[in-house]
């Protein structure tokens, strides 16, 4: 894992001291809320429905046990004993007091963490593949590249006041586990003639106008990456709409001028930027890469796993994935217990996950955009022990990628922008489909719920998506089908009029009945929907 040098640490410590002073002045009435709001937002502090909410950055979703323990401590000390892992691989605390915030940020800084650039119209936390460094299908570990971009984008003076917020994802596999093309910039590292370079996609996103990013740079060399991304940003910063916040994201610019014209402008700008010498020497990427050296795997690790316990075998089949190193596995910890709150973990659960990671996963954890946690490097011989420890902490639900593994934003239970509650809908659907045999029979089915059109719950990318809307003060839920955030990326389509809270659960159930009736061998829900179209689903749901 990357670790701060003295410059990183002094930048973060300096920011905490600066914010401490700003909070003091706000509490003393020396500055108004209008003056203070942009300052607190720059430090990830929002005002939500019930209290201040702090969003903490987890760079490319990677944590060590010391950091996870600290997140648990913070939940106990400053919040109400839990945190919420988000679709941007971050964590949010819902009950923070303004007067406590500087001390909290000091605690975070003590483990090389912060909340900088988790809000505002700047480049947000860089996200990545949760299996980075462990996936058999990656061409390289994407995290050093993500770290390089993190360093470049942190406090970038030119990009601190963009037309709108800006999200970048980096992956290095054909299988897209990070919804890469639904980001403002999505980077897929790829290999050409033995050289690693970047396919750069620009102008994707969800929200009110969902779009899939077109490819702009087919192969950007490592030594040109920062100049190229800088050029992408400069064109956006110059021409992005600042007059209309609903049209201010880069996806609107790329869509309006067209991918070809945007690419032409980027190339023109790149020719200029390249001369400025902002790209670090390749030795810098190599230096960063050393922080992400593979752990010392045992060369002769046992590859056999005793599957005689049926519950353990179920968990193995559903939540454990192949690792590139023989004798090791990737463990997915579901934060989606039936009837629970998607993405929430108690402080005690965080401590358990940290402890297990320390003992059994080379001290590493990852947060996934699907609001789960990953132990990336677990020896197969330890899987049963890990499973038992997780089960003890109620963290062993074997439902990864099944219908109850629902992405849900906080919705109207917490979020001041919400139109409707998302979490109760997730809870009701998960409860309706609680039976494991039923869930496994339905197979991979990604259900995603947002409480408003901002789409933090990625409903556009759900095989089944649910969007909460406000119908004259009453919660109503729209249903979309056919979305995907994976390599078969697609935006879901609304299938008809909305439902109330119970009606939406029934509608989802009817859709799964249609799928079971019409599916062909090996087809997922999404495949069947794509093959047969919306009509049989509509007939069953509205007929």
């Amino acid at each position: 894992m990357y670790s701060y040098d003295k410059y990183d640490q002094s930048i973060v410590d300096g920011r905490v001291a600066e914010f401490r002073d700003q909070v003091k002045r706000r509490l003393a009435g020396e500055i108004t809320e209008d003056q203070f709001k942009p300052l607190r937002l720059m430090n990830g502090l929002y005002l939500q429905l019930h209290a201040y909410m702090l969003r903490v950055a987890i760079p490319y979703g990677t944590l060590d046990s010391r950091q996870m323990h600290k997140l648990a401590d913070i939940a106990r000390k400053y919040d109400r004993g839990y945190g919420h892992f988000t679709t941007r691989q971050n964590i949010q605390y819902n009950w923070i007091k303004l007067e406590d915030c500087p001390d909290l940020l000091d605690d975070l800084a003590s483990v090389e963490m912060h909340a900088i650039q988790t809000s505002g119209n700047c480049i947000r936390n860089i996200s990545s593949d949760q299996y980075a460094g462990a996936a058999a299908d990656e061409v390289t570990d994407p995290r050093p590249w993500a770290e390089l971009l993190r360093q470049w984008s942190s406090f970038h003076p030119e990009f601190s006041f963009l037309p709108r917020k800006f999200k970048i994802a980096v992956i290095a596999s054909k299988e897209d586990r990070a919804a890469m093309r639904l980001h403002d910039i999505g980077i897929e590292l790829t290999q050409k003639n033995g050289e690693i370079g970047a396919r750069v996609f620009v102008g994707g996103g969800m929200g009110r106008t969902p779009m899939i990013a077109p490819e702009i740079g087919p192969f950007v060399k490592a030594e040109d990456l920062l100049s190229y991304i800088e050029a992408c940003m400069r064109v956006y910063n110059r021409f992005g709409r600042r007059d209309n916040m609903y049209k201010a994201r880069i996806k609107i610019l790329v869509h309006e001028i067209g991918a070809d014209e945007y690419r032409r402008q980027v190339e023109e700008e790149f020719a200029h930027v390249k001369k400025l010498g902002i790209d670090p020497p390749l030795a810098e990427l190599e230096r960063i890469t050393e922080f992400f050296a593979p752990p010392e795997f045992a060369a002769d690790a046992d590859i056999k796993v005793d599957r005689s316990d049926p519950d353990f075998a179920l968990w193995l089949d559903q939540n454990v994935k192949d690792h590139k190193q023989p004798g090791y596995a990737i463990v997915n910890i579901s934060l989606k217990p039936i009837g629970g709150i998607p993405g929430d973990a108690s402080a005690d659960q965080m401590d358990v996950m940290a402890e297990i990671a320390k003992q059994y996963s080379f001290d590493e954890l990852r947060v996934t955009h699907a609001q789960n946690i990953v132990l990336p490097h677990v020896a197969k011989k330890d899987l049963h022990t890990v499973w038992r420890a997780l089960r003890e902490a109620k963290l062993a639900d074997a439902n990864l990628d099944l219908i109850s593994d629902i992405i849900s934003c906080p919705g109207l239970d917490y979020c001041s922008l919400a139109n409707a509650r998302s979490i109760p809908v997730a809870q009701k659907i998960a409860t309706r489909f609680a039976d494991m045999d039923r869930q496994r029979d339905l197979g991979e089915l990604k259900l995603k719920i947002s409480g408003c059109i901002n789409a933090c719950g990625h409903h556009h990318a759900g095989h089944i998506g649910i969007l909460g809307v406000d119908r004259k003060g009453v919660e109503n839920y729209q249903l979309t089908f056919g979305g995907s955030g994976a390599e078969d990326v697609a935006i879901g389509k609304i299938i008809g009029p909305g439902f109330d809270e119970d009606g939406i659960v029934d509608a989802v159930e009817k859709a799964t009945d249609v799928y079971r009736e019409l599916r062909e061998e090996g087809e997922r829900f999404l495949d069947t929907y794509r093959r047969v179209g919306v009509t049989p689903f509509k007939e069953a749901i509205y007929g």
Partner: protein, 98 residues
Amino acid sequence: MKLLTGNDLKSGAVTWWTGSDWSIHVEHAADVGEHGESILQAEEGARRVNAPYIIDAVDTAEGPRPAHIKERVRALGPTVRPDLTLKPADPDAGDWVI
């Protein structure tokens, strides 16, 4: 009826104007009638409460009930965590929101 609400500057807690002070309990909220704007300006000027605003509510036997569900969620707490609401001991408290 009209209520004046905001969030406490220090704690961020939801708070309601009672006619003379602020309370975290919506039952204590006073009908500000036509005076909301002037109270709001005075209170914001005094910076006791963050971003106060006026909402519609209905007078009921149990006290004021905000007209919009969002304000009722604010008034009680998250419907999905009854233990974290202002009425953790009342299992039916969530019905008031919906």
